[in-house]
Amino acid sequence: MKKAIFILIGVAMIAGCKPSPQPINYGTDLCNHCQMTIVDRQHAGEAVTKKSKVYKFDAIECMVNYVNVHQEPEWAILLAGDYNRPGEMTDALAGSYLISKAIPSPMGAYLSAFASKEEAEKVQSEKGGEIYDWSQLLTKLHPGTPQ
Protein backbone atom coordinates (compact mmCIF):
# COMPACT_ATOMS: atom_id res chain seq x y z
CA MET A 1 0.00 0.00 0.00
CA LYS A 2 2.70 2.41 1.04
CA LYS A 3 4.63 1.59 -2.11
CA ALA A 4 1.58 2.32 -4.24
CA ILE A 5 1.20 5.73 -2.66
CA PHE A 6 4.85 6.56 -3.33
CA ILE A 7 4.46 5.47 -6.94
CA LEU A 8 1.31 7.55 -7.26
CA ILE A 9 3.03 10.62 -5.83
CA GLY A 10 5.97 10.01 -8.14
CA VAL A 11 3.68 9.74 -11.17
CA ALA A 12 1.81 12.86 -10.11
CA MET A 13 5.08 14.80 -9.78
CA ILE A 14 6.29 13.72 -13.20
CA ALA A 15 2.91 14.51 -14.74
CA GLY A 16 2.93 17.88 -12.97
CA CYS A 17 6.27 18.75 -14.53
CA LYS A 18 5.12 18.22 -18.09
CA PRO A 19 5.44 21.56 -19.88
CA SER A 20 2.05 22.99 -20.72
CA PRO A 21 1.00 26.36 -22.11
CA GLN A 22 -0.71 28.99 -19.98
CA PRO A 23 -3.55 31.18 -21.20
CA ILE A 24 -2.53 34.77 -21.99
CA ASN A 25 -4.22 37.48 -19.94
CA TYR A 26 -4.78 40.01 -22.70
CA GLY A 27 -4.44 43.57 -21.46
CA THR A 28 -2.25 42.71 -18.44
CA ASP A 29 0.51 40.27 -19.46
CA LEU A 30 3.73 41.74 -20.82
CA CYS A 31 5.78 40.62 -23.78
CA ASN A 32 9.00 38.93 -22.60
CA HIS A 33 10.91 40.40 -25.52
CA CYS A 34 9.71 43.99 -25.92
CA GLN A 35 7.87 44.73 -22.63
CA MET A 36 4.70 45.77 -24.40
CA THR A 37 1.33 44.81 -22.97
CA ILE A 38 -0.20 41.95 -24.95
CA VAL A 39 -3.53 43.01 -26.45
CA ASP A 40 -3.68 41.72 -30.02
CA ARG A 41 -5.55 38.41 -29.91
CA GLN A 42 -4.68 37.58 -33.51
CA HIS A 43 -0.90 38.01 -33.28
CA ALA A 44 0.26 36.88 -29.82
CA GLY A 45 2.83 34.15 -29.21
CA GLU A 46 3.83 31.81 -26.40
CA ALA A 47 6.86 29.62 -25.78
CA VAL A 48 7.29 27.02 -23.04
CA THR A 49 10.68 25.57 -22.06
CA LYS A 50 11.33 21.93 -21.18
CA LYS A 51 11.44 23.07 -17.56
CA SER A 52 7.88 24.47 -17.92
CA LYS A 53 8.83 28.13 -17.83
CA VAL A 54 6.35 30.12 -19.91
CA TYR A 55 7.34 33.08 -22.08
CA LYS A 56 4.62 35.24 -23.62
CA PHE A 57 4.94 37.58 -26.59
CA ASP A 58 2.76 40.35 -27.97
CA ALA A 59 3.69 39.53 -31.56
CA ILE A 60 4.93 36.50 -33.43
CA GLU A 61 7.93 38.52 -34.64
CA CYS A 62 8.89 39.06 -30.98
CA MET A 63 8.78 35.31 -30.34
CA VAL A 64 10.82 34.60 -33.48
CA ASN A 65 13.44 37.17 -32.47
CA TYR A 66 13.57 35.85 -28.91
CA VAL A 67 13.91 32.22 -29.97
CA ASN A 68 16.52 33.23 -32.55
CA VAL A 69 18.67 35.00 -29.97
CA HIS A 70 18.10 32.58 -27.09
CA GLN A 71 19.05 29.08 -28.28
CA GLU A 72 19.05 28.19 -24.55
CA PRO A 73 16.76 27.23 -22.82
CA GLU A 74 15.39 24.33 -24.82
CA TRP A 75 11.91 25.00 -26.08
CA ALA A 76 9.23 22.35 -25.59
CA ILE A 77 6.21 24.17 -26.99
CA LEU A 78 5.99 27.11 -29.40
CA LEU A 79 2.57 28.58 -30.10
CA ALA A 80 1.52 31.37 -32.46
CA GLY A 81 -1.77 33.30 -32.39
CA ASP A 82 -4.15 32.07 -35.09
CA TYR A 83 -5.14 34.98 -37.35
CA ASN A 84 -8.47 33.38 -38.27
CA ARG A 85 -9.44 32.49 -34.68
CA PRO A 86 -8.69 35.45 -32.37
CA GLY A 87 -7.63 34.31 -28.91
CA GLU A 88 -6.65 30.81 -30.03
CA MET A 89 -3.14 29.48 -30.57
CA THR A 90 -1.75 27.13 -33.16
CA ASP A 91 1.44 25.02 -33.11
CA ALA A 92 4.13 27.39 -34.36
CA LEU A 93 6.29 24.68 -35.93
CA ALA A 94 3.42 23.28 -38.00
CA GLY A 95 1.82 26.63 -38.78
CA SER A 96 1.98 28.67 -41.96
CA TYR A 97 2.98 32.33 -41.98
CA LEU A 98 1.93 35.21 -44.18
CA ILE A 99 3.90 38.45 -44.45
CA SER A 100 1.52 40.92 -46.09
CA LYS A 101 1.71 44.71 -46.07
CA ALA A 102 -2.09 44.71 -45.86
CA ILE A 103 -2.14 43.16 -42.37
CA PRO A 104 -0.17 45.18 -39.80
CA SER A 105 1.13 43.23 -36.81
CA PRO A 106 2.08 44.71 -33.40
CA MET A 107 5.84 45.03 -33.99
CA GLY A 108 5.88 46.13 -37.59
CA ALA A 109 6.75 42.85 -39.34
CA TYR A 110 3.32 42.46 -41.03
CA LEU A 111 3.41 38.85 -39.89
CA SER A 112 0.37 36.62 -39.23
CA ALA A 113 0.09 32.90 -38.46
CA PHE A 114 -2.35 30.32 -39.77
CA ALA A 115 -3.14 26.78 -38.66
CA SER A 116 -2.75 25.41 -42.19
CA LYS A 117 -1.28 26.41 -45.52
CA GLU A 118 -4.73 26.41 -47.14
CA GLU A 119 -5.98 29.07 -44.70
CA ALA A 120 -2.86 31.14 -45.29
CA GLU A 121 -3.32 30.87 -49.07
CA LYS A 122 -6.94 31.93 -48.80
CA VAL A 123 -6.02 35.15 -46.98
CA GLN A 124 -3.03 35.62 -49.32
CA SER A 125 -5.39 35.61 -52.32
CA GLU A 126 -7.34 38.49 -50.72
CA LYS A 127 -4.55 40.55 -49.17
CA GLY A 128 -1.40 39.56 -51.04
CA GLY A 129 2.01 38.86 -49.53
CA GLU A 130 4.27 35.87 -49.19
CA ILE A 131 3.92 32.59 -47.29
CA TYR A 132 6.67 31.07 -45.12
CA ASP A 133 6.98 28.02 -42.90
CA TRP A 134 8.58 28.19 -39.45
CA SER A 135 12.17 27.45 -40.47
CA GLN A 136 12.02 29.89 -43.39
CA LEU A 137 10.63 32.47 -40.99
CA LEU A 138 13.56 32.03 -38.59
CA THR A 139 16.05 32.86 -41.34
CA LYS A 140 13.86 35.60 -42.83
CA LEU A 141 13.65 37.50 -39.52
CA HIS A 142 17.15 36.70 -38.26
CA PRO A 143 19.01 39.89 -37.35
CA GLY A 144 21.99 39.07 -39.54
CA THR A 145 19.97 38.27 -42.64
CA PRO A 146 19.46 40.95 -45.27
CA GLN A 147 15.72 41.49 -45.72
Binding site: T28, L30, C34, T37, R41, P86, P104, M107, G108
Partner: protein, 388 residues
Protein backbone atom coordinates in the same frame (compact mmCIF):
# COMPACT_ATOMS: atom_id res chain seq x y z
CA UNK B 1 -21.13 104.34 -59.66
CA UNK B 2 -21.09 101.97 -62.62
CA UNK B 3 -17.61 100.76 -61.63
CA UNK B 4 -18.84 100.22 -58.14
CA UNK B 5 -21.66 97.99 -59.38
CA UNK B 6 -19.27 96.02 -61.57
CA UNK B 7 -16.94 95.49 -58.65
CA UNK B 8 -19.89 94.50 -56.47
CA UNK B 9 -21.10 92.03 -59.10
CA UNK B 10 -17.62 90.61 -59.33
CA UNK B 11 -17.59 89.91 -55.62
CA UNK B 12 -21.08 88.42 -55.61
CA UNK B 13 -20.31 86.08 -58.48
CA UNK B 14 -17.00 85.11 -56.87
CA UNK B 15 -18.81 84.30 -53.71
CA UNK B 16 -21.46 82.15 -55.33
CA UNK B 17 -18.84 79.80 -56.76
CA UNK B 18 -18.62 78.03 -53.42
CA UNK B 19 -22.09 76.94 -52.44
CA UNK B 20 -23.54 75.91 -49.12
CA UNK B 21 -25.63 72.75 -49.19
CA UNK B 22 -27.91 72.39 -46.21
CA UNK B 23 -28.79 68.88 -45.07
CA UNK B 24 -31.68 68.14 -42.72
CA UNK B 25 -34.58 65.72 -42.46
CA UNK B 26 -37.06 68.18 -44.00
CA UNK B 27 -34.65 69.77 -46.50
CA UNK B 28 -34.50 68.94 -50.23
CA UNK B 29 -31.21 67.13 -49.43
CA UNK B 30 -31.81 64.58 -46.70
CA UNK B 31 -28.56 62.64 -46.51
CA UNK B 32 -24.88 63.48 -46.09
CA UNK B 33 -23.81 61.00 -48.79
CA UNK B 34 -26.23 62.55 -51.29
CA UNK B 35 -25.00 66.03 -50.42
CA UNK B 36 -21.40 65.00 -51.10
CA UNK B 37 -22.42 63.64 -54.51
CA UNK B 38 -24.18 66.91 -55.36
CA UNK B 39 -21.34 69.07 -54.09
CA UNK B 40 -18.49 70.49 -56.10
CA UNK B 41 -14.92 71.18 -55.01
CA UNK B 42 -14.81 73.91 -52.40
CA UNK B 43 -18.45 73.68 -51.30
CA UNK B 44 -19.64 73.65 -47.73
CA UNK B 45 -22.13 71.09 -46.43
CA UNK B 46 -24.07 72.20 -43.40
CA UNK B 47 -25.70 69.30 -41.58
CA UNK B 48 -28.45 70.18 -39.13
CA UNK B 49 -29.50 68.36 -36.00
CA UNK B 50 -30.92 64.85 -36.47
CA UNK B 51 -29.96 61.20 -36.62
CA UNK B 52 -28.44 60.10 -39.94
CA UNK B 53 -28.26 56.32 -40.42
CA UNK B 54 -25.38 56.36 -42.88
CA UNK B 55 -22.07 54.60 -43.17
CA UNK B 56 -19.24 54.20 -45.69
CA UNK B 57 -19.51 57.90 -46.54
CA UNK B 58 -16.67 58.73 -48.92
CA UNK B 59 -15.42 62.30 -49.04
CA UNK B 60 -13.44 62.46 -52.29
CA UNK B 61 -13.71 66.19 -52.93
CA UNK B 62 -12.26 69.21 -51.17
CA UNK B 63 -15.23 70.06 -48.93
CA UNK B 64 -16.04 71.64 -45.61
CA UNK B 65 -18.51 69.62 -43.55
CA UNK B 66 -20.05 71.37 -40.59
CA UNK B 67 -22.46 69.82 -38.13
CA UNK B 68 -24.87 72.21 -36.44
CA UNK B 69 -26.16 71.25 -32.97
CA UNK B 70 -24.39 67.87 -33.04
CA UNK B 71 -26.02 65.82 -35.79
CA UNK B 72 -25.59 62.10 -35.04
CA UNK B 73 -24.13 59.86 -37.74
CA UNK B 74 -25.04 56.33 -36.74
CA UNK B 75 -22.94 53.51 -38.19
CA UNK B 76 -25.32 50.88 -36.78
CA UNK B 77 -22.38 48.49 -36.17
CA UNK B 78 -22.26 47.92 -39.94
CA UNK B 79 -19.08 49.50 -41.19
CA UNK B 80 -16.72 52.43 -41.20
CA UNK B 81 -18.48 55.81 -41.13
CA UNK B 82 -16.41 58.51 -42.90
CA UNK B 83 -13.39 58.09 -45.13
CA UNK B 84 -11.59 61.11 -46.49
CA UNK B 85 -9.40 60.74 -49.55
CA UNK B 86 -9.30 64.31 -50.90
CA UNK B 87 -6.94 67.03 -49.72
CA UNK B 88 -8.19 70.11 -47.90
CA UNK B 89 -11.20 68.60 -46.13
CA UNK B 90 -12.51 70.15 -42.91
CA UNK B 91 -14.91 68.27 -40.62
CA UNK B 92 -16.42 69.84 -37.56
CA UNK B 93 -19.23 69.31 -35.09
CA UNK B 94 -20.38 65.73 -35.79
CA UNK B 95 -21.26 62.97 -33.39
CA UNK B 96 -20.16 59.71 -34.98
CA UNK B 97 -21.06 56.45 -33.31
CA UNK B 98 -21.11 52.64 -33.45
CA UNK B 99 -18.84 51.32 -36.20
CA UNK B 100 -18.93 47.81 -34.77
CA UNK B 101 -15.91 45.50 -34.79
CA UNK B 102 -14.61 43.35 -37.59
CA UNK B 103 -11.90 40.74 -37.65
CA UNK B 104 -10.45 41.49 -41.05
CA UNK B 105 -11.19 45.20 -41.41
CA UNK B 106 -9.89 47.95 -39.14
CA UNK B 107 -13.01 50.09 -38.96
CA UNK B 108 -12.73 53.76 -38.04
CA UNK B 109 -15.09 56.58 -37.22
CA UNK B 110 -13.13 58.88 -39.53
CA UNK B 111 -10.43 57.49 -41.84
CA UNK B 112 -8.01 59.83 -43.58
CA UNK B 113 -6.12 58.12 -46.36
CA UNK B 114 -3.45 59.20 -48.85
CA UNK B 115 -4.17 62.88 -48.47
CA UNK B 116 -3.07 66.15 -46.89
CA UNK B 117 -4.21 69.47 -45.42
CA UNK B 118 -7.08 67.98 -43.43
CA UNK B 119 -8.63 69.49 -40.36
CA UNK B 120 -10.74 67.30 -38.05
CA UNK B 121 -12.11 69.51 -35.30
CA UNK B 122 -14.49 69.33 -32.40
CA UNK B 123 -16.19 66.00 -33.21
CA UNK B 124 -17.48 63.38 -30.82
CA UNK B 125 -16.70 59.76 -31.59
CA UNK B 126 -18.52 57.26 -29.43
CA UNK B 127 -18.03 53.50 -29.43
CA UNK B 128 -16.00 53.43 -32.63
CA UNK B 129 -13.48 50.61 -33.12
CA UNK B 130 -10.76 53.02 -34.21
CA UNK B 131 -11.67 56.65 -33.58
CA UNK B 132 -9.66 58.68 -36.10
CA UNK B 133 -7.39 56.61 -38.35
CA UNK B 134 -4.74 58.46 -40.36
CA UNK B 135 -2.71 56.63 -42.97
CA UNK B 136 -0.18 57.86 -45.54
CA UNK B 137 -1.22 61.44 -44.88
CA UNK B 138 0.54 64.68 -44.03
CA UNK B 139 0.14 68.30 -42.97
CA UNK B 140 -3.11 67.99 -41.06
CA UNK B 141 -4.66 68.79 -37.71
CA UNK B 142 -6.75 66.64 -35.39
CA UNK B 143 -7.97 68.89 -32.59
CA UNK B 144 -10.47 69.21 -29.76
CA UNK B 145 -12.20 65.91 -30.46
CA UNK B 146 -13.85 63.81 -27.79
CA UNK B 147 -13.29 60.09 -28.39
CA UNK B 148 -14.70 57.49 -26.06
CA UNK B 149 -14.56 53.73 -26.56
CA UNK B 150 -16.41 51.04 -24.69
CA UNK B 151 -13.30 48.91 -24.19
CA UNK B 152 -12.94 49.24 -20.45
CA UNK B 153 -11.55 45.75 -19.91
CA UNK B 154 -12.02 44.38 -23.43
CA UNK B 155 -9.04 44.10 -25.69
CA UNK B 156 -11.03 43.93 -28.87
CA UNK B 157 -10.66 47.61 -29.50
CA UNK B 158 -8.55 49.82 -31.70
CA UNK B 159 -6.85 53.10 -30.88
CA UNK B 160 -8.60 56.41 -30.37
CA UNK B 161 -6.23 58.36 -32.65
CA UNK B 162 -4.17 56.05 -34.85
CA UNK B 163 -1.53 57.44 -37.20
CA UNK B 164 0.43 55.24 -39.57
CA UNK B 165 3.03 56.51 -42.05
CA UNK B 166 2.25 60.19 -41.53
CA UNK B 167 4.29 63.38 -41.55
CA UNK B 168 3.90 66.80 -39.99
CA UNK B 169 0.57 66.24 -38.29
CA UNK B 170 -0.70 67.92 -35.16
CA UNK B 171 -2.83 66.14 -32.56
CA UNK B 172 -4.02 68.80 -30.14
CA UNK B 173 -6.54 69.23 -27.35
CA UNK B 174 -8.28 65.90 -27.76
CA UNK B 175 -9.81 63.87 -24.93
CA UNK B 176 -9.50 60.12 -25.43
CA UNK B 177 -10.94 57.37 -23.22
CA UNK B 178 -11.47 53.62 -23.18
CA UNK B 179 -9.55 52.51 -26.27
CA UNK B 180 -6.53 50.24 -26.76
CA UNK B 181 -4.03 53.11 -26.99
CA UNK B 182 -5.18 56.68 -26.57
CA UNK B 183 -2.90 58.00 -29.30
CA UNK B 184 -0.81 55.66 -31.44
CA UNK B 185 2.03 56.73 -33.77
CA UNK B 186 3.71 54.19 -36.05
CA UNK B 187 6.17 55.50 -38.66
CA UNK B 188 5.10 59.08 -37.98
CA UNK B 189 7.75 61.78 -38.30
CA UNK B 190 8.03 65.47 -37.44
CA UNK B 191 4.70 65.69 -35.65
CA UNK B 192 3.38 67.38 -32.53
CA UNK B 193 1.07 66.04 -29.82
CA UNK B 194 -0.06 68.61 -27.30
CA UNK B 195 -2.67 69.47 -24.69
CA UNK B 196 -4.42 66.10 -24.95
CA UNK B 197 -6.06 64.25 -22.11
CA UNK B 198 -5.79 60.46 -22.22
CA UNK B 199 -7.51 58.32 -19.60
CA UNK B 200 -8.61 54.72 -18.96
CA UNK B 201 -7.12 53.21 -22.09
CA UNK B 202 -6.40 49.49 -21.91
CA UNK B 203 -2.76 49.59 -23.03
CA UNK B 204 -1.07 52.99 -23.26
CA UNK B 205 -2.12 56.60 -23.04
CA UNK B 206 0.29 57.38 -25.89
CA UNK B 207 2.40 55.00 -27.92
CA UNK B 208 5.27 55.65 -30.34
CA UNK B 209 6.66 52.95 -32.62
CA UNK B 210 9.39 53.57 -35.21
CA UNK B 211 8.68 57.32 -35.18
CA UNK B 212 11.31 60.05 -35.27
CA UNK B 213 11.64 63.79 -34.62
CA UNK B 214 8.35 64.11 -32.75
CA UNK B 215 7.44 66.23 -29.78
CA UNK B 216 4.73 65.84 -27.15
CA UNK B 217 4.01 68.48 -24.53
CA UNK B 218 1.40 69.58 -21.97
CA UNK B 219 -0.50 66.30 -22.15
CA UNK B 220 -2.01 64.42 -19.22
CA UNK B 221 -1.94 60.62 -19.09
CA UNK B 222 -3.98 59.26 -16.25
CA UNK B 223 -5.12 55.83 -15.15
CA UNK B 224 -4.14 53.97 -18.31
CA UNK B 225 -2.77 50.41 -18.49
CA UNK B 226 0.55 52.24 -18.65
CA UNK B 227 1.17 55.92 -19.29
CA UNK B 228 3.32 56.36 -22.39
CA UNK B 229 5.52 53.95 -24.36
CA UNK B 230 8.23 55.29 -26.64
CA UNK B 231 9.76 52.42 -28.58
CA UNK B 232 12.26 52.09 -31.43
CA UNK B 233 12.25 55.85 -31.99
CA UNK B 234 14.76 58.67 -32.22
CA UNK B 235 14.85 62.33 -31.24
CA UNK B 236 11.58 62.56 -29.28
CA UNK B 237 11.07 65.61 -27.03
CA UNK B 238 8.83 65.13 -24.01
CA UNK B 239 7.99 68.37 -22.26
CA UNK B 240 5.70 69.32 -19.35
CA UNK B 241 3.49 66.24 -19.42
CA UNK B 242 1.73 64.66 -16.47
CA UNK B 243 2.05 60.89 -15.97
CA UNK B 244 -0.32 59.94 -13.20
CA UNK B 245 -1.94 56.98 -11.48
CA UNK B 246 -0.63 54.09 -13.53
CA UNK B 247 -0.95 51.25 -11.07
CA UNK B 248 -0.52 47.52 -11.70
CA UNK B 249 2.04 44.75 -11.48
CA UNK B 250 3.56 45.85 -14.74
CA UNK B 251 2.44 49.46 -15.08
CA UNK B 252 4.78 52.35 -15.87
CA UNK B 253 4.42 56.06 -16.13
CA UNK B 254 6.80 55.97 -19.10
CA UNK B 255 8.40 53.07 -20.95
CA UNK B 256 11.54 53.87 -22.92
CA UNK B 257 12.67 50.99 -25.12
CA UNK B 258 15.30 51.35 -27.84
CA UNK B 259 15.18 55.12 -27.97
CA UNK B 260 18.08 57.46 -28.75
CA UNK B 261 18.78 61.18 -28.46
CA UNK B 262 15.67 62.22 -26.60
CA UNK B 263 14.95 64.77 -23.92
CA UNK B 264 12.54 64.93 -20.98
CA UNK B 265 11.91 68.32 -19.41
CA UNK B 266 9.49 69.67 -16.79
CA UNK B 267 7.39 66.50 -16.61
CA UNK B 268 5.51 65.30 -13.54
CA UNK B 269 5.40 61.63 -12.56
CA UNK B 270 2.98 61.05 -9.74
CA UNK B 271 1.70 57.78 -8.24
CA UNK B 272 2.96 55.20 -10.72
CA UNK B 273 4.07 51.66 -9.87
CA UNK B 274 7.23 52.35 -11.89
CA UNK B 275 7.98 55.95 -12.87
CA UNK B 276 10.24 55.35 -15.87
CA UNK B 277 11.23 51.92 -17.14
CA UNK B 278 14.26 52.09 -19.44
CA UNK B 279 15.77 49.43 -21.63
CA UNK B 280 18.16 50.26 -24.42
CA UNK B 281 17.71 53.99 -23.82
CA UNK B 282 20.72 56.02 -24.87
CA UNK B 283 21.79 59.67 -24.90
CA UNK B 284 18.75 61.05 -23.07
CA UNK B 285 18.67 64.20 -20.96
CA UNK B 286 16.29 64.37 -17.99
CA UNK B 287 15.97 67.88 -16.65
CA UNK B 288 13.76 69.53 -14.10
CA UNK B 289 11.25 66.67 -13.82
CA UNK B 290 9.30 65.93 -10.66
CA UNK B 291 8.89 62.37 -9.40
CA UNK B 292 6.54 61.98 -6.47
CA UNK B 293 4.79 59.10 -4.69
CA UNK B 294 5.97 56.42 -7.13
CA UNK B 295 6.76 52.81 -6.20
CA UNK B 296 10.04 52.46 -8.10
CA UNK B 297 10.98 55.81 -9.57
CA UNK B 298 13.52 54.76 -12.17
CA UNK B 299 14.19 51.23 -13.35
CA UNK B 300 17.21 50.91 -15.61
CA UNK B 301 17.62 47.64 -17.47
CA UNK B 302 20.38 46.67 -19.87
CA UNK B 303 21.78 48.91 -22.56
CA UNK B 304 21.11 52.26 -20.88
CA UNK B 305 24.01 54.49 -21.91
CA UNK B 306 24.66 58.22 -21.44
CA UNK B 307 21.49 59.13 -19.59
CA UNK B 308 21.95 62.42 -17.76
CA UNK B 309 19.73 63.40 -14.83
CA UNK B 310 20.07 67.03 -13.86
CA UNK B 311 18.02 69.19 -11.50
CA UNK B 312 15.21 66.70 -10.98
CA UNK B 313 13.04 66.53 -7.89
CA UNK B 314 12.61 63.10 -6.22
CA UNK B 315 9.99 63.28 -3.53
CA UNK B 316 8.38 60.56 -1.37
CA UNK B 317 9.11 57.63 -3.66
CA UNK B 318 9.45 54.15 -2.20
CA UNK B 319 12.62 53.31 -4.13
CA UNK B 320 14.51 55.87 -6.17
CA UNK B 321 16.57 53.76 -8.53
CA UNK B 322 16.80 50.10 -9.46
CA UNK B 323 19.56 49.08 -11.86
CA UNK B 324 20.02 45.81 -13.66
CA UNK B 325 22.50 44.69 -16.26
CA UNK B 326 25.27 46.69 -17.84
CA UNK B 327 24.45 50.33 -17.52
CA UNK B 328 27.25 52.82 -17.67
CA UNK B 329 28.17 56.36 -18.43
CA UNK B 330 24.96 57.61 -16.77
CA UNK B 331 25.15 60.67 -14.54
CA UNK B 332 23.14 62.22 -11.72
CA UNK B 333 23.84 65.87 -10.96
CA UNK B 334 22.19 68.47 -8.78
CA UNK B 335 18.99 66.54 -8.10
CA UNK B 336 16.84 66.89 -5.00
CA UNK B 337 16.25 63.63 -3.07
CA UNK B 338 13.75 63.67 -0.21
CA UNK B 339 15.35 60.48 1.18
CA UNK B 340 18.65 62.28 1.77
CA UNK B 341 19.59 62.46 5.44
CA UNK B 342 23.03 64.11 5.29
CA UNK B 343 24.10 67.57 6.47
CA UNK B 344 24.97 70.74 4.65
CA UNK B 345 27.54 72.21 7.07
CA UNK B 346 29.06 74.69 4.63
CA UNK B 347 25.56 75.92 3.70
CA UNK B 348 26.06 75.97 -0.04
CA UNK B 349 22.66 74.34 -0.59
CA UNK B 350 24.23 71.02 -1.56
CA UNK B 351 24.56 68.06 0.82
CA UNK B 352 28.14 67.45 1.97
CA UNK B 353 28.06 63.73 1.15
CA UNK B 354 26.63 62.67 -2.20
CA UNK B 355 23.34 60.77 -2.07
CA UNK B 356 23.46 57.14 -3.17
CA UNK B 357 20.11 56.33 -4.76
CA UNK B 358 20.72 52.59 -5.27
CA UNK B 359 20.09 50.63 -2.10
CA UNK B 360 21.12 47.06 -1.34
CA UNK B 361 17.52 46.22 -0.59
CA UNK B 362 16.45 47.45 -4.05
CA UNK B 363 18.81 44.84 -5.47
CA UNK B 364 17.43 42.14 -3.16
CA UNK B 365 13.89 43.08 -4.12
CA UNK B 366 14.75 42.98 -7.79
CA UNK B 367 16.16 39.44 -7.49
CA UNK B 368 13.34 38.24 -5.29
CA UNK B 369 10.18 40.35 -5.68
CA UNK B 370 8.43 38.57 -2.78
CA UNK B 371 10.83 40.26 -0.37
CA UNK B 372 8.80 43.44 -0.83
CA UNK B 373 6.84 42.44 2.30
CA UNK B 374 9.97 43.35 4.31
CA UNK B 375 9.90 46.91 3.06
CA UNK B 376 9.53 49.40 5.92
CA UNK B 377 10.50 46.65 8.37
CA UNK B 378 13.14 47.02 11.07
CA UNK B 379 15.40 44.58 9.20
CA UNK B 380 15.46 46.72 6.07
CA UNK B 381 16.01 49.89 8.09
CA UNK B 382 19.04 48.19 9.67
CA UNK B 383 20.26 47.17 6.22
CA UNK B 384 19.95 50.73 4.93
CA UNK B 385 21.67 52.12 8.03
CA UNK B 386 24.56 49.66 7.82
CA UNK B 387 24.99 50.60 4.14
CA UNK B 388 25.71 54.19 5.09
Amino acid sequence: MRYFIIILLFFISGHSLARIIVVCKTCPVEGIGVAIQLAQEGDTILVKRGIYQEYDIKIDKCLTLIGQDWPVVEGGNQSEVFSITAPGVTMEGFQIQNTGASQSQERAGIRIKNTSDFRIRRNRLLNTYFGIYLEYSRDGIVEDNYIKGEAVSETTSGNAVHAWYCKQITVRGNSVYGHRDGIYFEFVDSSWISHNYSEANVRYGLHFMFSNDDRYFHNTFRHNGSGVAVMFSKRIDMIANHFEHNWGTAAYGLLLKEIYDASLRDNHFDRNTIGIFMEGAARINYENNTFSNNGITLKMMGGCIANHFKGNFFFSNTLDLVVEGNTNDNSFDGNYWSEYTGYDLNRDGVGDVPYRPVKLFAYVMHRCPESVVLLRSFFVDLLNLSEK
